[in-house]
């Protein structure tokens, strides 16, 4: 180990965690610019030195893609920044995204050894710093020829490694692999497959790549230049992205296989089907699914209407139903569009599945939280426009299948929350479109595809799947982990298919 860790230097007392600087809530609630500001070099170094460099790093086990966390943190502590980039990107193609949106508090940071005595190492914030450093010092990383111009005075070894690794496979003419959907799962699978040397095309139904990262997560949490950069990086590996293709409608997997020569597929079509509550009044004007609300604002940039042509109607008061990331994002968007947003959640703050940091951010920004509120009806006016949500108060009962205590509505406790905009953000499930168009793909009762948990292979040979279409983890990183595993399995499958001993590609 290179340096004595500063965390334990004072006889087992844990040095306090370096806070991630954030913009003033009063200021940030007026725009869609990023909320968190990120560490500077000094803070990053200081935070990196809180890491104990454990022999058995539990944090790595907590990371769904197994990033060598102490490895990249050590490089940071020793100011070998390019090396930190290399170590991190070796396992995680999209660090700028993960550093911002991963629920670290339930993953790596939850099991970080330091957390036994104090606050865990700010792994997410460090990851984010590394991605930012890469962006600033290795600007060519996103374009073809990646790594060819790593500044000479920087860590040479890391540059060379990247260069040789990427170039070895550049221009490879391996078999064609199709990736359906350009969310984090699809992007990761595509990047990995390209690195193996396959010719990869991503088919995306929307007009822009990124999946939920593009249409769902708002810019104040994930600036679009970060996402664009990561998408460019994937393209730089030789991946083609064909937008405006809805697989199952525009073209089928069978046609892609038979007529266009694709030999294997990764399906990462996500869980894009919005749920509604099925309560009266839900089709009143002014009631949106979170998907519609967020797509209008994020993908279509309705917050810049009329410069961008897609409108979104946000009234004086917005009620958002739900307690997950989607609900939080909707409420914070509404608040930024000048509305007073209230979250209606049927459990309490402690049970909210959203990222803890975002709950805190939302409350700081003035979003109100009504706990234990179960909507039963939406109330409208003669014009057919929504005016409020009638709720019942609930109390928490026994834990349900998810382990969270079940809300039990109290009879006669009805109350109305006034709202002229309502966003339903309760849940989503896989869009049944592709499975319906490909009946050989077997699905579970919840609409997800049946896959081999190790490889992601579906019931159709050569078709692999991952992310929200296959698993219910519902996180960016889990989708990426799936994409990575499936890419390895596809590689193996294609090698097997060509007969043992053959070198594919």
């Amino acid at each position: 180990m290179a340096k004595e860790s500063e965390t334990v230097s004072k006889k087992g007392k844990v040095a306090p965690r370096n806070p991630l600087p954030r913009r003033d809530p009063k200021e940030r609630v007026r725009d869609f610019e990023e909320v968190a500001l990120g560490f500077d070099e000094e803070a990053a170094r200081a935070e990196a030195r809180r890491c104990l460099q454990c022999k058995r790093p539990t944090c790595v086990e907590g990371c769904p893609v197994g990033v060598d966390i102490p490895g990249f943190i050590l490089a940071l502590a020793e100011e070998r920044f390019a090396e930190a980039v290399r170590v991190l990107k070796d396992r995680n193609n999209l660090p700028g995204i993960c550093g911002r949106v991963c629920p670290q508090e339930t993953q790596c940071e939850k099991v970080c050894v330091v957390s036994r005595r104090g606050e865990p190492v700010a792994i997410g914030a460090l990851e984010r710093f590394v991605a930012a450093w890469e962006g600033e010092h290795m600007p060519e990383a996103g374009v073809p020829g990646f790594g060819t111009e790593v500044p000479k005075d920087r860590d040479k070894r890391a540059g060379d490694t990247l260069l040789s690794y990427e170039l070895k496979h550049r221009g490879a003419r391996g078999p064609k692999v199709g990736v359906i959907g350009s969310g984090p799962g699809g992007l990761t699978a595509a990047a990995e497959l390209a690195r193996y040397g396959y010719r990869v095309t991503i088919f995306e139904s929307l007009h822009a790549a990124g999946g939920v990262l593009r249409y769902g997560i708002p810019e104040f949490r994930l600036p679009r230049e970060i996402l664009d950069r990561e998408v460019e990086y994937v393209k730089g590996l030789g991946v083609e992205i064909e937008t405006d293709v809805l697989v199952g409608k525009t073209v089928t997997l069978e046609e892609l296989r038979e007529e266009e020569g694709f030999e294997a597929f990764f399906v990462g079509t996500g869980a894009g089907l919005p749920w509604f509550l099925g309560i009266p009044g839900e089709n009143l004007a002014g009631v949106y699914s979170a998907n519609e609300f967020l797509t209008r604002i994020n993908l279509m940039k309705a917050y810049r209407f009329p410069e961008y042509r897609t409108p979104v109607r946000v009234g004086k008061r917005t009620a958002v139903i739900g307690g997950g990331n989607t609900a939080l994002d909707s409420a914070r968007c509404a608040q930024r569009m000048g509305s007073e947003a209230t979250l209606l959640y049927r459990r309490t703050r402690a049970e909210m599945p959203a990222r803890a940091e975002e709950v805190e951010n939302a409350l700081e920004e003035g979003v109100a939280l009504k706990e234990l509120a179960v909507p039963v009806r939406m109330v409208g006016d003669e014009e057919g426009h929504v005016r409020g949500v009638e709720c019942q108060r609930a109390e928490l009962g026994e834990p349900d299948a998810s382990g969270r205590r079940r809300p039990v509505p109290i009879e006669g406790s009805e109350f109305v929350v006034e709202a002229d905009t309502v966003v339903v953000a309760v849940s989503t499930s896989p869009n049944p479109l592709l499975p319906k168009a490909e009946p050989r793909l077997r699905t579970r009762s919840d609409g997800r595809l049946v896959v081999d948990p190790e490889t992601g292979e579906t019931s159709v040979p050569g078709v692999f799947a991952g992310g929200d279409i296959a698993n219910d983890a519902g996180t960016v990183i889990a989708a990426m982990g799936d994409g990575k595993r499936a890419a390895a399995a596809i590689h193996e499958y294609l090698q097997r298919k060509r007969g043992s001993g053959s070198q594919v590609p």
């Binding site: 007009h207 525009t250 089907l273 009143l284 279509m300």
Partner: protein, 284 residues
């Protein structure tokens, strides 16, 4: 050739434009009743448009639209050789084209463009097609010759009486039904009030009726739920479950109200454009 390039352009009627657009994947798969989502430019809305014609050999489809909103007004200005930013399709369920016997097809306004592929498909499937086309005034009628070719009878109607029957589509259909004409199936496509009135009329006669709905849409793939409509008491997503539905079961009231959601924003857009145009003119 760039993607979604305009290959030919035809003015069908005042304010009604037909663009033939390069879109080989869409052209190959398009069937009657399906639509595309179109985005004019990088800042544009995604708007649904029925596929009026498809030519798989040439790899083109034709869209016909009336310049009513910002996007359609911009699109109407496109020249041959220019391109649309995006086009996704074919979307929605194809119409179930069966051999019913005598099929009456009623269309109003720009709905004529959307019923044309249906008429073609039903005629090709061996049905006798009786067509009723209506518009505000005679200049706004189009595809008349094409549809006449495919129909055993063609009835025209105009609100102002400038051509054909003086009155509404439903007046003509009512007349025919009252005369004792028998039909096995009806297709009605046009503005909501027209489809609603037609469905109410055919219900009296127990004539099964297909209508094609165009609610608010964002993605067109079942992702946003903005297009939800109530049909027979059930909530459906028009973009994936439709856009064709049993006209006797559609809750037109709700559809009308939901469609008004962005009325003020549309108005704001229109006013700003009008102001821009005035400014441009004064500069000239």
């Amino acid at each position: 050739m760039s993607k979604f390039q305009v290959m030919s352009k035809r003015i069908m009627a005042p304010e009604v434009t037909r663009l033939e657009v390069q879109a080989p994947r869409v052209a190959r798969k398009a069937q009657a009743g399906q639509f595309v989502m179109v985005r004019f430019d990088e800042r544009g809305e995604r708007i649904p448009l029925t596929i009026a014609e498809a030519d798989p050999e040439k790899g083109t489809i034709a869209i016909v639209f009336q310049a009513v909103g910002h996007s359609t007004r911009e699109m109407a200005k496109l020249a041959v050789g220019e391109s649309l930013a995006n086009m996704l399709g074919p979307l929605g369920q194809p119409t179930e084209v069966r051999r019913y016997g005598r099929v009456v097809c009623a269309a109003g306004g720009v709905g004529i463009a959307f019923i044309y592929p249906e008429i073609k498909a039903f005629a090709e499937a061996g049905n006798e097609v009786i067509s009723i086309l209506a518009a505000r005034t005679k200049e706004l009628l189009f595809y008349v010759d094409e549809i006449r070719e495919l129909s055993s009878e063609l009835h025209l109607a105009t609100d102002d009486g400038s051509l054909g029957h003086h009155g509404l589509v439903t007046d003509v259909l009512r007349g025919l039904l009252e005369q004792g004409e028998h039909y096995d199936y009806c297709i009605a496509i046009g503005p909501i009030p027209m489809m609603k009135a037609t469905a109410e009329l055919t219900k009296e006669y127990g004539l099964p009726t297909l209508v094609s709905l165009d609610p608010i849409m964002v993605d067109g793939t079942g992702m946003c739920g903005g297009c939800r409509v109530t049909v027979g008491g059930e909530v459906k997503f028009a973009c994936v479950d439709g856009p064709g539905f049993d006209g006797h079961l559609v809750d037109f009231e709700e559809l009308t109200k939901r469609k008004r959601t962005f009325r003020e924003e549309e108005e704001r857009c229109r006013l700003e454009e009008a102001a821009d145009e005035l400014e441009e003119e004064s500069e000239r």
